[in-house]
């Protein structure tokens, strides 16, 4: 086959896959947790990906159980990456022996992920190969040693493998091996911090204070959480070491201590707190010693809060009332005037808060009033190219995934505040956690990836 005809064939397959993909997409509309928004999104092309069941390189029900668990997690993660159309795989197709690319082609696959699991069951090895079906070659292959623990650790290992596959296929960073921390409101108005894996599994409670908690924020490696709690009687900022459970006070001035976050390199903490005039301003302190507090905004007697660092740590986006109503600004930490980036119309009541700077650096997300209701809005860091990403219900507290593409937020679209994940490219939305009042989500970096 010469180069020209190969390209023509590839183009045809891409088009064919697009048509094939469009059918299941339409079928998904109105399905469980799948809502396609009509406003900002073009119907994104997602190449077909086939993930047949893992081939077992050994016997034993333990190994088969691990394989089934890994297959399920990988398939869901790759679906939730929103980069692929996950294809149903007929039983007749398998990946033992030589790969028959033609057959996978006919199925509509652009990518084929072949996995083989070898014993022993207490320390299995998963060999993962990614095939480019269109070009008929092996894109990448790697063997992953899976943990002996078949619970949480195995799940996180599977998430990391899914992120590897995403990276091999797209060159981009995945977000499967991450967690989302948030506050859950319980009876009698009390709230505590909870945590959940990016795929909505492994929900667990983090604090047991039965007080009021606010604003969790992860350390770069996901090993610590900053948050605000009323456990002392006043809203004060704390740091919680997730592995040891040790807690220390980060900021406790009289008044309020709000929205603490780590700088992306983990060396500094920015926190908003009450100053002399009764308003709040943002201070930066050393993350290890908690000393050397330096005031970086001057909004009092108004409020500045919600700091979110640019990836290089040189700038912050934050909420400020310097125009009278809360709006979102960006400023250099080293000095220089703040610049407004949210939509402000003189004489019109506006309201924009809670910015989060994408870890990719290219966009800032915030919640802004659209017709008096909060919607999720993204802009460039200079405020240009404003896009409203939601329509239904009140949508608040947005936070970017480490892939800079997905956003978790709290939405009342089903009547009360619940957490949803939005893909900013395709507009796919999924519910993250069920049947509770959940707010203020924070998205971790990649877990166990050495401080990324």
């Amino acid at each position: 086959m010469n180069r020209a005809s190969r390209l023509a064939r590839a183009l045809f397959l891409v088009l064919a896959a697009f048509v094939a993909a469009a059918v299941p997409l339409r079928a998904q509309q109105g399905g469980e947790g799948q809502v396609r928004l009509g406003i900002t999104y073009k119907p994104g092309y997602r190449p077909g990906l086939a993930l047949p069941p893992s081939i077992l390189g050994g016997t034993g029900s333990d190994l088969a159980t691990v394989a089934a668990s890994i297959d399920t997690i990988l398939r869901r993660d790759l679906d939730y990456s929103d980069r692929f159309e996950i294809l149903p795989v007929p039983d007749s197709l398998h990946t033992s022996g030589a790969i028959n690319y033609g057959l996978w082609n006919q199925l509509g696959a652009v990518w084929l992920v072949a996995t083989q699991l070898q014993g022993p069951a207490d320390r299995p090895l998963l060999r993962v190969s990614l095939h480019d079906v269109v070009y008929g070659n092996l894109r990448n292959v790697q063997a992953f040693t899976l943990p002996a623990d078949h619970g949480e650790a195995l799940r996180m290992a599977a998430h990391r493998i899914a992120d590897s596959v995403v990276n091999w296929a797209t060159g981009e960073r995945g977000m499967a091996a991450t967690r989302i921390a948030f506050r859950r409101k319980e009876g009698d108005g009390a709230s505590d911090l909870f945590m959940i894996d990016s795929d909505g599994a492994n929900l667990h409670r983090v604090t047991h204070d039965s007080s009021i908690v606010y604003s969790p924020a992860f350390s770069p490696g996901g090993t610590k959480l900053l948050f605000v709690s009323y456990v002392s009687g006043q809203p004060e900022a704390y740091e919680l070491d997730l592995s040891t459970g040790r807690r220390r006070t980060v900021s406790a001035v009289p008044g309020v201590n709000l929205t603490p976050v780590f700088r992306p390199d983990g060396a500094k903490i920015a926190v908003a707190r009450t100053v002399g005039g009764g308003g709040t301003d943002i201070f930066e302190l050393d993350a290890a010693s908690l000393s050397g507090a330096r005031r970086i905004t001057f909004t009092d007697p108004g409020d500045a809060l919600n700091p979110s660092y640019s990836p290089d740590g040189q700038r912050i986006a934050y909420t400020s009332t310097s125009l009278g109503e809360p709006q979102v600004f960006v400023q250099n930490i080293g000095g220089g005037g703040p610049g407004l980036i949210s939509r402000y119309v003189y004489g019109e009541q506006g309201y924009a808060t809670s910015p989060d700077w994408s870890p990719r650096g290219d966009r800032i997300v915030y919640q802004g009033w659209v017709d008096g209701v909060f919607q999720i809005v993204t802009v460039n860091p200079d405020g240009s190219d404003r896009r409203v990403l939601t329509l239904k219900g009140s949508n608040e507290d947005p936070a970017f995934a480490p892939d800079g593409r997905h956003i978790v937020f709290s939405s009342t679209r089903e009547g009360y505040h619940a957490l949803w994940v939005l893909d900013t490219v395709t507009g796919r939305v999924r519910r993250l956690a069920e049947n509770h009042i959940d707010q203020m989500p924070a998205w971790s970096g990649t877990i166990g990836a050495g401080g990324s």
Binding site: I212, G255, V256, G278, D303, N306, S354, E396
Partner: protein
């Protein structure tokens, strides 16, 4: 023994008559054993004293209970209930500690009610409105009169807006009232502030009526059991 036993009800009547301040009845009728009669009388006298003491104690207790319930009612913000409890103490238990201080407690209750009255704010605003200023001026007067009372001013917001921003806004609302009271001469040492943002709504609706109720400062007296007025 039989006779004295049969006579003992009579002795009880006599003893009771003594206890009630009646004249001692003349000795008459059959001779009785004087020793056992005196012993019985002494016993009955002591029972009567104990009864009287117990009744007084019970009365004091019932009265104190009214004052305790009144204090609990004030703490819960049920001022009308507290008022009727103090009035009951005043009318039924004069001579007891609670009954005797009920009149001044009723006066103090008026002051407490004035001090606890909420002030309200406009949407996304923390400035003291004219209406709020009048309420705060009345508070300042009551606070001057009851100079030992300490207040926590609690700033609250309606459900609109971000939770985090509302914490900051609530703090500003509490701070506005604190500053206004200080400007009227109330010592800053008596006034602390806290913000609850939108965590503690008092009206549950999702309309302007509920929202305007919830945009408020609550004034919580922190040492309600501190005694009396300063003048």
């Amino acid at each position: 023994m039989r006779r004295s036993l049969r006579l003992s009800p009579l002795a009880l009547v006599l003893a009771a008559a003594v206890a009630c301040g009646g004249n001692p009845p003349p000795q008459q009728g059959p001779q009785v054993n004087q020793d056992s009669l005196a012993a019985a009388r002494a016993r009955q006298d002591s029972i009567a004293r104990a009864d009287s003491l117990r009744r007084a104690q019970q009365r004091n207790q019932a009265s104190a209970e009214l004052c305790n319930r009144a204090l609990a009612a004030i703490t819960a913000g049920n001022y009308d209930q507290a008022r009727s409890l103090y009035k009951q103490a005043q009318s039924q238990y004069s001579g007891t500690a609670c009954g005797d201080r009920a009149a001044s407690e009723l006066q103090r209750l008026d002051a407490i009610e004035t001090i606890a009255q909420r002030v309200h704010f406009d949407f996304d605003k923390s400035n003291i409105t004219d209406q709020a200023a009048q309420v705060l001026q009345r508070k300042a007067q009551a606070l001057r009169q009851y100079a030992n009372l300490k207040l926590q001013i609690q700033g609250n917001c309606d459900e609109r807006g971000s939770n985090e921003y509302n914490l900051a806004l609530g703090q500003r609302r509490a701070e506005s009232a604190r500053k206004y009271l200080v400007s009227l001469g109330i010592s800053p040492d008596r006034l602390s502030t806290i913000s609850f943002g939108e965590e503690r709504p008092i009206a549950q609706g999702h309309d302007e009526q509920a929202w305007s109720m919830n945009r408020r400062d609550d004034f919580v007296i922190q040492n309600l059991s501190a005694s009396g007025s300063s003048d």
